[in-house]
Amino acid sequence: MKKLVKGNVALCEGAITAGLHAYFGYPITPQNEVPAYMSRKMVELGRVFIQGESEIASANMVLGAAVTGKRAMTSSSSPGMSLKQEALSYMAGMEIPALIVNVQRGGPGLGNISGAQSDYFQAVKGGGHGDYRLIVLAPNCAQEMYETAYDSFDLAEKYRTPVMILSDGIVGQMMEPVEFNRPEIKEFANKDWALTGCMQREPRSIKSLLMREGSLERHNIDLQEKYEIISKNEVQYESYLTDDAQIIITAFGIASRISKSAVKLARKNGIKAGLLRPKTLWPFPSKIISELAKPQTAFLCVELNHGQMVEDVRLAVNGKSRVEFLGKGGGGIINEIEILEKIKKLVK
């Protein structure tokens, strides 16, 4: 039978089942279930748990564990995620696979502790310095928190890149039935890049400082080529009733669930609405959005912020359709009736 658990706990189980070696974190609401759960479970399993002295230290502990090829993660919420950007930029530059989780809350600044989606830009545009990308996954239910956490390590290791799960306080805090249906990973592929001590091989060095003439330029070209491959291979989205839709809602995470209810309501009202939900925020499903964009269709981007992903939707649509936005920030939660009203206005 499915187990009733919080999204945050489902996430922990997914990571642990995927063979997480080490968790490093720092308390911040609304992700506190993660370090609390890990502090018990990881220790019981004989694995590593450390409550770091800061988000900065926790993220750098992840860097240290992951540079040796071990599966490591950290989690935080928006203000803490700003502090983790330093290590994220380094890990992207050093090509270190790891999982970083943001259970978003309202901002800017200390904001509040309600769920929000206002860190989209920070997550997908490279919140730290330098020209890098993270694979950004956006689960919208507890089951997906479990599954994306589980899958994220393979993805991170396949491309030697940090992966971010961009969740929010609502998905993290709510309980839902979850089926823990993934096999436990106990064996790990040999990593021919990891630092393991130079026994019977040449020493390795993993770094992001490349001062020799042309070497950083070369490294950036390599990174961009890698990002190109990720963009080609790893786009994930959910398409719901978009085939005949005159109104296509684009939404991710918690907003996509509410939007789906609104689509159903709209259909009951005789309006041909559909939902295109990016499950990967980077790489972004631009191609499918571009294909769906026609003069007779309109897009409505629904977000719990004041308009961030809508910019990527507009880029993908590229003027071929009308693109409207509906959102609330600062912890405000949109409901399906509000979305329905907006849809009705759009079809008029």
Binding site: H21, A22, F24, V48, I50, G52, E53, S54, I56, A57, S58, N60, M61, V62, L63, G64, A65, A66, V67, T68, K70, A72, E86, A87, Y90, M94, L195, T196, G197, C198, M199, Q200, P203, R204, S205, I206, K207, S208, L209
Partner: protein, 248 residues
């Protein structure tokens, strides 16, 4: 003919970028010799800082990585906790360890991480052109204290070993220098002892090496050595600060 001295296996055959007269070359060699002698080269994972020693990985002949500025103790924590069988040390300067990375330093020490920190104190930020560091002496002129460090404005030099000695978890803290052969031999002894402690699982050790920075101090190498002897170690007294294993 008998070879009596050769490059340690733990050092690569690369020419160092350090300025003429700089102490880093000597300290690198002491670290490399100690690792060779303890036979842990193939188990070593070292963490380079941001600062002059950022290029340590070009010289050390074992696995190395690099941490963001000040974060080596956190990175080393992550490495050591997931690989307790490996030999892990960080190599850091004064700005890295006691300014931007003070939090990481204190908390790694307070957790009693079984790692070793080699802390090179040269009283300024060398790589960026000689700005004031937390260890800059009172009155010392640097790029950002053109009138000399004034305690009213910039506070006093931080004595990291003494600060860490108050933490229950720290095992071994010693301040050494390399301004003459006698001190170099002593520094080697301390570094090796700290490494040995890690191998024995005794916990957190930090060796502070008082070094020189002739170029940024605006001195000849010889004058810089004289300054270490006459001024620097007057403020930063050499010697054992703490050895928990001896107290027990």
């Amino acid at each position: 003919m008998k070879k009596i001295l050769s490059r340690p296996e733990s050092l690569k055959d690369n020419q160092m970028h350090y300025c003429p007269g700089c102490g880093h070359g000597i300290i690198h060699r002491l670290v490399a010799e100690a690792i060779d002698e303890l036979g842990v080269r193939e188990k070593t994972i070292a963490v380079a800082p941001v600062g002059c020693a950022v290029f340590a990985y070009d010289y050390f002949n074992f696995d190395t990585t690099e941490a963001p500025h000040g974060r080596p103790p956190a990175v080393a924590t992550g490495i050591k906790r997931t690989n307790p069988d490996k030999f892990v040390f960080t190599y850091q300067g004064d700005g890295d360890i006691s300014a931007i990375g003070m939090s990481e330093t204190i908390h790694a020490a307070n957790r009693g991480e079984n790692i070793t920190i080699i802390f090179v104190n040269n009283a300024n930020y060398g790589m960026t052109g000689g700005q004031m560091a937390p260890t800059t002496l009172i009155g010392q002129v640097t790029e950002t204290t053109p009138f000399g460090r004034d305690p009213k404005r910039e506070g006093y030099p931080i004595h990291l070993c003494e600060l860490l000695s108050s933490l229950t978890a720290t095992t071994y803290l010693e301040r050494v220098s390399i301004y003459n052969p006698k001190n170099i031999i002593n520094a080697k002894r301390a570094i090796k002892k700290a490494f040995q402690y890690q191998i024995e699982g005794k916990g957190f050790s930090l060796i502070e090496v008082i070094s020189n920075c002739p170029v940024d101090w605006g001195m000849t190498p010889l004058d810089s050595i004289k300054w270490v002897e006459e001024k620097f170690i007057e403020e930063f007294k050499l010697g054992l600060i703490k050895d928990k294993t001896e107290q027990i």
